[in-house]
Amino acid sequence: MISFDRVTFAYPNTHRPAVVDVDLHVGEGQLALVVGPTGAGKSTLLKMVNGLVPRFTGGTLSGRVVVGGRDIADHSVGEMADLVGYVPQDPASGFVADTVEEELAFTMEQLGLDPGVMRKRVEEVLDLMGLAALRSRRLSDLSGGEAQRVAIGAVLTAHPEVMVLDEPTSALDPAAAEEVLASITRLVHDVGTTVLMAEHRLERVVQYADQVVHIDRTGRVEAGEPAVVMERSTVAPPVVRLGRLAGWSPLPLSVREARRRAPSLMERLKAPIARAASHGEVVMEARDVSVIYGDSPAVRGVGLRLAAGEVVALMGRNGAGKSSLLWALQGAGKRSGGRVSVAGVDPATLEPDEARRFVALVPHEPSDLLFMESVGDECRRADAANGSPPGTCGAWLERLLGRIDPDLHPADLSEGEKLALVLAIQLGARPKVVLLDEPTRGMDYAAKQHLSDLIREIAGQGTAVMIATHDVEFAAETAHRVVVMADGEIVADDRTAAVVVSSPVFAPQVAKVLAGDWLTVDDVAASLEPA
């Protein structure tokens, strides 16, 4: 259905092609998963399927891309619309209509389908994607998971034979991600749609794939059986890394496969090493904090303590009030009631440039804080504002990212690099508490590992860190303590292992496989007796 024949593509004004010599064939009704580190050209590969690359981006393409018998060289993007449904990485950025129903109908209107047919298909897709209750909702009022399902539904109504999805679950909480993936697999199984999908969090999807397409940083592509490709993949979910550690072959891809082999591994394990949770003095104490928008409460009477040197993960589904809580704690956001005290001071009573010396927040969209012409200028401005010696921010940045060209424009940085830059700017103010809102979006395993190490290092210097995240593996890796929010209230607050191991939604893969207090592959490696 999709065939790439010796395809090489380079963006304009670059020295290095984004993808090199790709030979790829995806058969009808198959689910192919595109994996690879950040910036390796996964999105580029996906956009070639309907011709957005190179028609929308420019650049030179050699070789042939043929989809459903149509060569993208001969057909415009619009002409591929009835054949290929493309769902971009940020679904909300592609919305064209006002309400869910109109959005679902847009493609069909452009294709000129009969109104009767349109009406029927919209109803079918509303049911298939579980959107019936949202039909007249405005698109701007949807939660992340709802928006993602609407975006998929909006291309489904045109009955495309090929669906292309760019990281469909990256912004979703674990439960919403399951829901979206379930709908995608239902399409493959029941409707016979061919799906090409990129995803960072392989632990969520790799077991559903018929084929894995691996791209490395040089743009070379290797495609094949999932278990075979994952043997050598530069990115691997915890279950695969566990399999590699234990020397299992063929590699298990799902928790279920791994659990069958687990007893042999368990025999070789000592008791898990308890994590040293450093309990310093309490630096932040929040009592009875609530946030109300209009007449809908987002945070209801939350009490929370953060100790110096502690890393806390704040989890909960989309819309549970995590962001609102972080903003209220920092003082820049709305707080309708309650008290916050950081080292005896309420940050909301301070001027913003003083408050950030007590509590620093790295928001959901780090690029909102970047406005200078170059990375070097950002750092100089931050040092001047922080009153810290010149080079402080640059030094932090180097520890976060390694060497980076100070003349680069902030807009040209990847999401992960922007996050690191904002974190460096905020750390320059030497805050007592650092809050991060969803920092791992769009990061590969290596980048997440690096961030995790850094956060522990920052905490090690006596700062309290709280991270709102959907990423259970990241939370398991990083946090001493997990706080779970639901409907604006705290429903669990305990040691990481105590919260996540017992929860079917929040348990990391390793805990699911080994049914014990091991949370990460590193934990297992540390307690593995030499064979």
Binding site: V122, Y293, E365, S367, D368, L369, F371
Partner: protein
């Protein structure tokens, strides 16, 4: 009698009705008649507006209308130059080189002229507001003739973008505090405008890609030719109407207008035949739409007849001062436009399902 089924009226019907009322307002400075127009618009809005977000702006239109009246009176008082015999009071006079003067005697005539004039403008504004409140402007764009769907889609998308821009602005303004950037003056704009511009451009590009990827703009060359015919016709119509209003040569002006209209019709019909797009759940034009639209037209026609029969009614005299009058014909004509308050179908209840936004507003 069967109960009326709640449904959304065709947006065009409301606009036709509002245009009728606006035509009434432009013809007269009679404050009684204008007051009647505003009252009629208010009654219809109160009984037939929906609960959607776009329908909540009526109050803003009323406020702007009141401000317009106040400004009009203020300027007439200040710069009126004391036209008319009935002096109310004196303002200190200030002469400006070049023959202009500010202040001096203030007459009842100039204040009333300001009031009447401002009230006329205010009534027109209220009518526009009523149409905007009763009919979703997006639905109107969606109901444009098939040949214009390309343009209409762009307009609809642009209208959807505007509130997003406001949201981004609020979000970035709040984020600025996190960096301690709360200075005043020009330099403090940079932390606001740079991220906003970046986000807007980024969003525009991804929106364009998304629209293209979903088949927008698959137009054929024939389609574009018909579009050109229609646009040419539209230009002729504009030129013709301008000529007609300037009033000197009625015959050639009328001919230009008619030719233009013909071109527009031919272009739209041709493009409509060639067009391969369709519309999902298009608004229907039924009996009630005729009723609503024609009630506005009837009001305009009745007031026009009033002007022909009794010209003094529409433009009340100021010198000597007289109390404005109404004739039964004028009053009843305007009241006809209130029929939609009961005759238009009731608005379907909006399910109130707003969820808490994920990133706090």
């Amino acid at each position: 009698m069967t109960r009326q089924l709640p449904r959304r009226l065709h947006a065009g019907a409301w606009w036709l009705w509002a245009l009728g009322l606006m035509a009434v307002a432009t013809q007269t400075t009679n404050p009684l008649l204008l007051g009647l127009v505003v009252a009629v618009a208010g009654v219809v809005v109160a009984s037939r507006r929906g609960g959607a977000a776009w329908a909540s702006g009526y109050r803003a239109y009323l406020v702007v209308a009141a401000v317009v009246v106040a400004i009009r009176i203020f300027f007439r008082t200040l710069f009126g130059g004391g036209a008319g015999p009935d002096v109310l009071f004196h303002l200190p006079r200030l002469s400006i080189p070049g023959g202009l003067s500010v202040g001096g005697p203030v007459t009842a005539q100039q204040v009333l002229a300001g009031l009447y004039d401002g009230f006329r403008l205010a009534a027109i504004l209220v009518c526009v507001g009523a149409a905007n409140t009763l009919a979703d402007p997006r639905r109107l764009a969606r109901s444009l003739p098939a040949a214009l769907t390309g343009v209409a889609t762009s307009v609809v998308v642009a209208l959807s973008m505007a509130p997003q821009l406001v949201e981004s602005f609020a979000r970035i303004r709040r984020a600025r505090k996190l960096r301690g950037e709360t200075g005043r003056g020009w330099r403090s704009l940079r932390p606001l405008l740079v991220p906003l511009a970046e986000e807007t451009i980024h969003r525009a590009v991804s929106l364009a890609a998304s629209m293209e990827g979903r088949g927008y703009g698959r137009s054929t060359p024939a389609n574009r030719r018909w579009g050109a015919v229609a646009s040419g016709g539209l230009a002729l119509v504009a030129a013709g109407s301008f000529w007609l209003v300037s009033g000197s040569q009625l015959l050639p002006a009328g001919a230009t207008l008619a030719t233009g209209a013909l071109f527009v019709l031919v272009g739209l019909a041709g493009a409509g035949r060639e067009n391969h797009r369709t519309r999902y759940r298009a608004d229907r034009w039924e009996r009630q739409e005729w009723l609503v639209g024609l009630s506005g037209v009837a009001a305009a026609a009745g007031v026009y007849m009033t002007g022909a029969l009794t010209p003094g009614i529409l433009l009340p005299q100021l010198d000597p001062l007289t109390w404005p009058q109404l004739t039964p014909l004028a009053a009843i004509s305007v009241l006809i436009a209130a029929i939609p308050a009961v005759a238009a179908p009731p608005v379907p209840a909006m399910p109130n399902l707003r969820s808490i936004p994920e990133t706090a507003p």
